[in-house]
Amino acid sequence: MKGLLYLTIGTFFGIVMYKSEAASWFRIYEMFNFQSIHMYGLMGSALGVGVLVVQYLKRKSVRDINNQPIVIVNKDKGISWYAIGGVIFGLGWALAGACPGPMFVLAGAGYLPILIVILGAMLGTWFYGLLKDKLPH
């Protein structure tokens, strides 16, 4: 039953990613050339609504479906290296034209070469796990 709920949320997310063109390599390229408001408006409006509602939920201590407090897990404070990881991620985002959500959306849409990107992303995650203790954090 819960599984069906998660499947529905994911399906909705996948449809939005495709229809909004956040899953289009072209849109990512256009964004990094500052030639359209599209992606900035997309992320900006998601964020605008996101900030307002999350702050409201926190102020009113709204509880979730299980009557637990709604919490967004704080990211660790090891700040400086987040930037390095971020830059590496950004390089890949622009090259493959897809981040981890849209990758799977494109697989569903039938663009099979995206499977190479997904394989690469799994390998990248694995390399991180192997090197984690040797990397500065």
Partner: protein, 185 residues
């Protein structure tokens, strides 16, 4: 029905992305797609190679189901909710892409030069896609999250690490498009 099959404007889609995050929060979960890559590694046996992958992956089953939903959503959106959707790019962007060898710009959802079936027989394309994925996977874990976990969820919660990571995402993207693309395309 035409408003469904037409491309969705950003001011509709953006709030719908936020709605995805709220729905997950409401059912007691956090929005973050790249965690699934770690879970997939564990399922493939990476837990035998590093502590990083030794966790109870079943606790992440819900997120894998969200991921399956995203695949299904991509299928439904492209096959039933679109009439051959092609992004209406800036004409300058299309011109630049044509000059760099992307003849499909303006006629396809994603470049057929990278995502057409001939990709599997072009070593250059395979390497580009594989390296793109590698950087995304490695970077997402090093940064502690991706566009969903940091740029949407973390920033909505006004977290400084998420702001730093998001600035990093953009610096990386700008470096790739402006410094590296001229060398490879």
């Amino acid at each position: 029905m035409e408003w469904i099959t037409a491309p969705w404007p950003w001011f509709v889609s953006g709030p719908l992305i936020a709605l995805t995050m709220f729905t997950l929060l409401y059912v007691g979960k956090n929005f973050g797609m790249s965690s699934n890559l770690r879970t997939l590694c564990t399922i493939c046996g990476a837990d035998k190679t590093s502590d990083f992958f030794r966790f109870d992956w079943k606790s992440q089953r819900w997120n894998l189901i969200v991921m399956l939903g995203a695949i299904l959503g991509g299928f439904l959106a492209s096959h039933f909710l679109s009439d051959n959707q092609i992004p209406e790019l800036n004409s300058k962007t299309i011109e630049m892409l044509h000059d760099s060898g992307f003849q499909s710009a303006g006629t396809a959802y994603v470049p057929s030069e990278l995502f057409g079936d001939q990709a599997f027989t072009s070593p250059k394309t395979i390497i580009i896609l594989l390296i793109g994925g590698l950087l995304v996977g490695f970077g997402a874990r090093y940064a502690g999250g991706c566009t969903s976990g940091h740029s949407i969820s973390g920033l909505s919660n006004l977290q400084l690490p998420s702001l730093i990571a998001t600035i990093g995402f953009f610096i990386g993207g700008l470096l790739m498009v402006h410094l590296i693309f001229p060398l490879i395309f």
